[in-house]
Symmetry: C2
Subunit: 164 residues, 2 copies
DNA sequence: CTGACTGCAAACCCTTTGCAGACCG
DNA sequence: CGGTCTGCAAAGGGTTTGCAGTCAG
């Protein structure tokens, strides 16, 4: 098990280069920047969040290229997605085994690691439903920021706050 | 811990009636049918799936009413949601502790129960991220249907198949 | 050089909102 | 009966697609 060491994203970038070459795909500036952005964060951003970040360094990049690149990375197995749907998906370049903490209030998502939880075994009865590819723990709670800013959240549904 | 006994949805319906009365909300036919539908399934349908099911029995129901009702139930705490975003959400009327199996191929989601997994403890280090409300296991794999129909899924992203 | 890739814009969802009539309590 | 709730239709926001110019290999 590997914690997110300083050069974790550098390692992922190397992996991308190898896989892309094998697949005969071009490594354009856009693709590199998009992947770099995703590989550097733990916040599981959605497409638009990545877009805004990349746009800082590369003002001409377009949102559709971000979408196309993310799904391409996904097809290559370099990126996984959070959430059962393909709309409003959030992406994840961390291929190491990990678990998720997500804030019920603002939607922030963070990885955490736990050797103990990695050892969890799913019951045999799961075979009735299908074959297992992967299992992890989802923890839901209030992030430290939302613990502080305790306005009453009754009524309207949470705004689409993105985990930063 | 309570397994989904035959009358599980009946129990949930009673709970709805009590809570709705307390909140001074009207129990219209539409609301009852929508909740009934959701309480009877384990498939975590999205709004449109519920809509189509309710429409069988109540042809005049509209999709927006389904949306409004689901979020109302959510505000009452009678329904929870899957997925970190509020777009493409899937709903869940099962308030008992449970875990999820979801198919990486078609998006189907099913509950399963496990006394062993219920006992999992999240590491103390989680406090760095926030306070814990709930924790469960997410298992990803191939559902029995997708195990059979093994067309190559390379290339296009999965169609928006809904867990039936 | 050449085909894959990008940016643009328009199309295509899914979801939410404003309003007049219907219905629960 | 009164206020809430519904259905309709239109608006809103996010995601995908077709096309002509551009760039990596």
């Amino acid at each position: 098990m590997r914690r997110s060491e300083p050069r974790g994203s550098e390692r992922r970038l190397q992996h991308l280069k190898v896989v892309a070459r094998e697949a005969g795909l071009k490594l354009t500036h856009q693709r590199l920047e998009i992947f770099r952005e995703l590989a550097a964060t733990e916040a599981h951003p959605d497409a638009e969040t990545i877009f805004r970040a990349v746009q800082q360094r590369m003002p001409t990049v377009s949102l559709d290229t971000v979408y196309r690149t993310l799904w391409m990375l996904h097809d290559l197995g370099l990126v996984t997605t959070l959430g059962p749907q393909r709309t409003g998906v959030r992406f994840d370049a961390n291929l190491d085994r990990h678990h998720h903490f997500s804030c019920v209030r603002c939607g922030l998502v963070r990885d955490f690691e736990s050797a103990e939880l990695d050892g969890l075994r799913v019951p045999d009865s799961i075979k009735r439903l299908g074959s297992v590819v992967e299992a992890h723990v989802e923890v839901r709670g209030l992030c430290t920021t939302c613990q502080r800013g305790q306005e009453t959240s009754k009524g309207k549904h949470p705004p689409g706050t993105r985990g930063g």
